[in-house]
Symmetry: C2
Subunit: 205 residues, 2 copies
């Protein structure tokens, strides 16, 4: 039944999950679409409509059991397991991301980090040693890693992407400020601070 | 007429602007809502409806003049000027962001960077010198800076936010993995890699 669910709905599920996990961490056990909607700025009707695509999670008038809904959303999003990831680019951004403390709690683990700079290869980043980018393709394929985070300079991003695709990577989180060309079965998400800043300047002045 | 435009529409305008600027950089001068929609995965009808909130930008059957629409979107989003910004936190992430090469072309400039670590204060980050966080409030107020990027550890994020708000900051881009409490007239956007990763794991396996 999941086949035709619009990407925009899938895009909201992690936001629901994050807010619900936050409530749970504060000891809250049940919530309503109204309460959840107020916490994240999405209408209660939209939340009910989105969730109804995946089944019946709340009881009429009784709201949602947060532990149950968290479990269901984790299962829908396939994060009720741990995904190994590779970071490509061991500069300041790659180092910051490889050390990001919250991955483990949310279904992710940085398993490898690569760079092509001889000054960086062999150095320590958190608990990992920076590997030579020349070995990326073989190492990623062997380890059967499906997710990559890309923090290389813009001019290297497309060629690294092609290596990652050849290595079997199916999802790329890119911090490079350009649109990557990938086959249809590879997913890309972009983190671009400019988009987020421009969403706020509208309200300034 | 802008008063009641939903936040979700405002949130899409920077995505339109980015795609249009990309087309322009490739020498393309006109486009249609169909073509733009295909480039960014949003329906043509949605794009037309969003833009119609702000006026009449295309001619029936002739599509949009990209240079004109870019100019209009920049004006709507208030990025047809340069906004000075402050970075708080001069670790790996703050250093990466302060050196981000694309701000200047998009209406932003990193004017100051702060940290509270004596080892970092006085060191160089790109063209800036890291200032003592103890001076943040006064310096930001004096310089009349309205936008901050927050790259401090989670445990410091709320108290730094309160300093920023007292200093007159009106927009915060936070990389800290928690929800900040701010007054109603202060805008916050969060960059959390987990949200973006979970949008892709849905499609894996």
């Amino acid at each position: 039944m999941d086949h035709d669910i619009p990407e925009i709905i899938i895009g909201r599920l992690p936001i629901y999950l994050q807010a619900l996990e936050h409530m749970l961490s504060q000891g809250i056990q049940t919530t309503s679409s109204q309460e959840l909607g107020e916490a994240i700025g999405i209408s209660a009707a939209q939340i009910r409509k989105d969730l109804s695509q995946f089944g019946e999670f709340g009881k009429q008038g009784k709201g949602y059991s947060i532990p149950y809904l968290v479990e269901q959303l984790q299962s829908i999003l396939h994060v009720n397991r741990v995904w190994d990831m590779v970071v490509v680019g061991a500069g300041h951004l790659g180092t910051a991301i490889a050390n990001y403390p919250d991955f483990n709690r949310h279904g992710f683990r940085v398993a490898m980090i690569f760079d092509n700079d001889p000054q960086r290869i062999g150095t320590q980043v958190g608990e990992l040693v920076v590997c030579d980018a020349a070995e990326l393709e073989e190492a990623v394929r062997k380890a059967n890693i499906k997710i990559a985070m890309l923090t290389v300079p813009a001019k290297a991003a497309q060629s690294v992407t092609e290596q990652l695709v050849r290595a079997g990577i199916r999802a790329i989180l890119s911090y490079a400020p350009l649109i990557l060309s990938v086959p249809k079965n590879v997913h890309v998400q972009y983190i671009d601070p400019i988009i987020f800043l421009q969403r706020m300047t509208y309200y300034l002045e």
